[in-house]
Amino acid sequence: MSVSVDPTFVEPSGKQPTEVLRPHAEDAFAGELAALAAQDDRPRPARWKLSPWAVATYLRGGTLPDGTVITPKYVGPRRLVEVAVTTLATDRALLLLGVPGTAKTWVSEHLAAAVSGDSTLLVQGTAGTPEEAIRYGWNYARLLAGGPSRDALVPSPVMRAMAEGMTARVEELTRIPADVQDTLITILSEKTLPIPELGQEVQAVGGFNLIATANDRDRGVNDLSSALRRRFNTVVLPLPESVEAEVDIVARRVDQIGRSLDLPAAPDGIDEIRRVVTVFRELRDGVTADGRTKLKSPSGTLSTAEAISVVTNGFALATHFGDGVLRAGDVAAGMLGAVVRDPAADRVVWQEYLEAVVRERDGWKDFYRACREVSA
């Protein structure tokens, strides 16, 4: 979240194969990790590259005694980082929850990089993730040639992490079908992965742990069973704390997306962005920015990611069909779409918001009219 991707073009492949679009955390911040490890004199849990304190410092940022500056990787509440690191240190699996755009994956990658020095033991969860991705698969050529043996077995990232005492990561855990999710239960509680075909098992060695990320307000996800849920400590990553932080994120991302979509240089619409962010935050929090009036919250998530898409959409409209300046009318329609997910209940919420809050607010007349136009 706090690091912007350098948008300059990438060298054509072949010329410099190491120049990847996005290096892993442990490569990008190798210097910082090495400096931390060198000066870390606190006790480290088995197979951890750093002590828990050093891991927390790596994420929160700071200056080491020798003057090395550690850049902050996560700018949210300190408490969350401490709970997350402590969870891993107490040998419990960690579940990072949050709406899209709250840096779940980012935090999980950096945690894995700092703890195990390797953030690549990754299972990407999708609706089609098979059991093999979490347990093990078979190399069928070898299986047919020599029958079941350890040689014919293709270990999953989780299995490798268990064997080597590393941190495994599961992305989008709730998108994985429920029956596949449940294979994690044994791994997390018994710390062992049986291979019945061989009559063997893989037992986790000290240092093995698992970080999962999940989206908690998305519709149509496979909820975790309580048996699995019980094996995780949960940390909910919050949305940006202040309006300014969120406006900043939205403006920056809109700028990046705009460039990749070849929109002309983003017109100056910071006021409109602020307005979109304000509306999103107020509806999400169920209370106006001044904290005086309560509001109903719509059923949608209204994440920062959606605010970004509303603004991007508005810019495209303003550029192609308007005068190039982002105006209330350009974002109104997108806003309506983002807020009103359930046509019956959300429409009432939106109209109440318009009548009770937007109409009375100074300088929001144009926005009110634009929204009334598209809502009618």
Partner: protein, 797 residues
């Protein structure tokens, strides 16, 4: 810090404490933090070790006589010492004590060991006189630890959170480890350094109080030698240790203002302990502190078990494995954060991550029930009367409203000042749960200016008054505080509305802002338009009562307008696809809102205009939507058309057109009958409308005759209900009009110039009959006298 502790421990061992007893060192000064469980434990340990012959405690000396009550078997902390000015019960100050308060521990220790205990702070006689009002009372009544110096101390220790630092070094220290006096010595040193840097900390009155305390300590020393223990805020310890000239102290105390003060014990709650306190050091987590104090060992494990129990009682699945993991996480977090013991923040983080699945919702429950807690104290009935009782006595005398056990009815005319005040008093008492008077329906007059009450004072009401003492020292203040608390605790919107009404009746304008805020919040979150529509008329009614009683109702009007706004938005979707019963109920809501909007308009018209008429306009727009949208039950559509018609918003022609649409053959007869019920049904004078507008009657008639035979029996009950509600006269007229036959109806629907209900053209015969009289009156010609007479006779006959 650790080094200082060790050093201090050697310096003041058990032996030194005895040296003190022989007079070498001076009194045993135990500096504490008010409501600190660690301090309380340390105080008990120190008292056990030193065995003083007298215990002196920071607090108003007027309460000395009340100390024995602390050992009474009916006494349950949290309680508070309450000082109030005799002539002015509103002027008061509280010294709350929980079971984990060091002061309470000291009192109990003294009582258990038969040692005298005395309060040594400046008498309440003076402190009450100092204060301008109640609000300042807490501030002046005695502060233990200043926030600023504490922060400086914590900063020196390299910790940014002063509260947490204090907990770590003082409150979380386990009992019984090492020397009982060591913590106090260390603390005194630290406070001494602070006092050198900050002086009185900007509170000049502290110097006076400390002078008084010094004199008291000296007096005790003369009596008991040096076997004197003093329990006071750590801040005061260096000042008490200082050798000051008696004359200088006396000089400081000269000429202090005085009021006649009275003291008693009152029950207290943990919640109020967390809000503010007479010792000035309010605490956020009384429940947690109470737990720390009460738990014999393993506080974190016991706490987690309690949390799990609470969550289980609320139907969350929490297993023992959860508890184990939560304890592990909390303890590791404490290590990670460098704290000696998992504190409240660690346990809270652990509960959130392990037991609440990261959610703050169950956590709020934990905070409310356990961290703050619901503990309510009790005081024995032998405790002196609370000021609330005195205030009530005063009011009863002044208003000549004697408490009698015999039941009697009294009638109040609210236009008279005394009666209005009596009414307010009775309403306030009712709010406080003191059911002295019950309002009964007035006999005879029904005006809003009259109230009838049935009064009866039962002995148990005195107990109720004593219980209500926790809310405040005067009837008004107590009722205000109670109303505010009730508003927060109320379940439904209707409850809050009723409370708002009650507040107005009781003249509690002080409570209104809080109640209104709750009301606005509840209204914003309530998604049932029915609730909102129900609340609106009551609110508007309150607005009018407020007018009668001269209360300020600006906030009320604002909230009512907001509520109306929400009803407007929510009503059309809420009306769609309703069953018959629900539709009928919703029609009642539409009527109620219509009346309310009208009244609201009138009520606020005197204030700023513009927005009000706006409100009415928007209501009409809503009605238009209701009248025209398919899928809304007929009875509501009909009602909406009727309301618009009555308001002159809809022309007769338009109404007839809408009616024609509904009554056209394509509409199911049941729906059409419901529309008619909505349009002309009920006691809304619908019959007269039909009598006067024959076009509408004609439409109804034509539709009714066109209803197919098999459907007729279905619509009959509904129609019968509609028409049977009319007055007999109206029914008969309608019947006659219908009987007059179809020929007339045709002309009624025609396009000629006549107004509805009248023939299209003048009846020349009958018009001619009037002419002679006109002529006569105007004195024109008299030659047609005969003719006129006949006609006149005809007319009169």
């Amino acid at each position: 810090m650790a080094g200082a502790e060790a050093g201090g421990g050697e310096a003041v061992g058990e032996g030194t404490a005895r040296d003190r007893g022989s007079g070498a060192v001076g009194p045993l000064l135990l500096g504490v933090r008010h409501h600190g469980p660690g301090s309380a434990r340390a105080v008990r340990g120190a008292l056990e070790a030193a065995r003083p012959r007298v215990v002196l405690i920071e607090g108003p000396p007027e309460a000395d006589a009340l100390i024995p009550l602390a050992a009474h078997e009916d006494m349950r902390p949290p309680v508070a010492l309450l000082a109030h000015a005799v002539d002015e019960p509103g002027r008061s100050a509280f010294w709350p004590m929980a079971e984990f308060s060091p002061e309470w521990v000291a009192i109990r220790w003294a009582l258990e060991h038969g040692v005298p205990a005395r309060f040594i702070d400046l008498p309440a006689t003076h402190t009450l006189a100092w204060e301008g009002g109640t609000g300042e009372g807490e501030e002046a009544a005695g502060l233990g630890v200043r926030v600023d110096p504490l922060a400086a101390l914590a900063g020196a220790a390299g910790c940014d959170d002063a509260e947490r630092w204090w907990e770590d070094v003082v409150e979380h220290r386990g009992a019984g480890e090492g020397d009982a006096f060591a913590p106090f010595v260390v603390l005194e040193e630290a406070m001494g350094a602070l006092r050198e840097a900050y002086g009185s900390g900007g509170h000049e009155r502290d110097l006076v109080r400390e002078a008084y305390m010094r004199l008291q300590v000296r007096a005790a020393q003369r009596e008991f030698g040096d076997a004197v223990a003093v329990v006071c805020g750590a801040w005061h310890v260096p000042a008490l240790r200082r050798k000051a000239a008696v004359a200088a102290d006396r000089a400081l105390l000269k000429g202090l203002p005085k009021v006649k003060a009275d003291m008693t014990w009152v029950p207290w709650t943990y919640r109020r302990l967390s809000r503010f306190s007479g010792y000035g050091a309010g605490i956020d987590s009384p429940g947690w502190y109470g737990h720390l104090f009460a738990a014999p060992d393993r506080p974190v494990e016991r706490w987690m078990t309690r949390v799990a129990g609470l969550l289980r009682a609320e139907d969350r699945i929490v297993s023992s494995a959860h508890v184990i993991e939560a304890v592990r996480l909390a303890e590791t977090l404490a290590v990670m954060r460098g704290r000696p013991l998992a504190g409240l923040s660690e346990t809270t983080d652990a509960v959130r991550a392990v037991m609440c699945e990261g959610s703050d919702v169950p956590l709020a429950l934990v905070r409310d029930r356990l961290v703050v807690g619901d503990v309510l104290g009790e005081v024995p009935r032998t405790a002196p009367a609370v000021p609330l009782q005195r205030d009530l006595d005063r009011l009863q005398r002044r208003l000549r409203l004697k408490p009698e056990a015999r039941e009697r009815e009294t009638e109040l005319d609210l236009r008279k000042e005394t009666d209005a005040e009596r009414s307010r008093l009775l309403h306030r008492l009712r709010l406080l749960g003191v059911g002295w008077g019950e309002p009964v329906a007035s006999r005879g007059s029904t005006g809003t200016f009259r109230e009838t009450w049935r009064l009866r004072w039962e002995p148990e009401l005195s107990v109720r008054v004593a219980e209500a003492g926790v809310w405040g020292t005067t009837v008004q203040a107590a009722a205000t505080a109670k109303a505010e608390a009730d508003a927060v605790a109320a379940h439904g919107l209707a409850e809050v509305t009723a409370l708002a009404e009650h507040c107005l009746l009781a003249g509690l304008s002080g409570a209104l802002p809080a109640v209104m805020q709750v009301l606005a919040d509840r209204a914003a979150l309530d998604s049932d338009v029915g609730h909102l529509a129900q609340a609106l008329p009551a609110l508007v009614r309150s607005l009018r009562y407020g007018d009668v009683r001269g209360t300020d109702t600006g906030a009320l009007a604002e909230v009512a307008a907001g509520l109306a706004e929400r009803v407007f938005v929510g009503l059309p979707p809420a009306c769609a696809a309703l069953a018959t019963d629900a539709a009928e109920e919703m029609r009642g809501h539409v009527d109620g809102v219509h009346t309310a909007v009208g009244l609201l308009d009138d009520a606020t018209a005197a204030g700023d205009s513009g927005t009000d008429s706006d409100l009415r306009d928007r209501w009409r727009a809503v009605l238009r939507v209701l009248s025209g949208r398919d899928g809304i039950p007929g009875v509501i559509r009909g009602r909406a058309v009727r309301l618009l018609l009555d308001d002159g918003e809809l022309g007769q022609d338009e109404a007839a057109r809408l009616m024609g649409l509904v009554l056209s053959p394509g509409t199911p007869p049941g729906d059409a009958a419901a529309w008619i019920e909505g349009f002309v049904g009920g006691g809304s004078g619908g019959g007269m409308l039909l009598v006067h507008d024959e076009r509408l009657l004609g439409l109804v008639d034509a539709w009714l005759t066109g209803v197919p035979a098999d459907a007729f029996t279905d619509v009959l009950p509904l129609l019968r209900r509609t028409f049977s509600a009319y007055e007999p006269g109206v029914r008969r007229t309608l019947g006659e009009l219908v009987r007059r036959g179809p020929g007339r109806r045709g002309s009624a629907a025609g396009a000629s110039a006549g107004a509805p209900g009248f023939a299209p053209e003048l009846d020349t015969d009958r018009a001619d009959a009037v002419l002679p009289v006109v002529r006569l009156l105007l004195g024109l010609d008299g030659d047609r006298e005969q003719h006129d007479d006949n006609n006149l006779a005809g007319v009169t006959g």
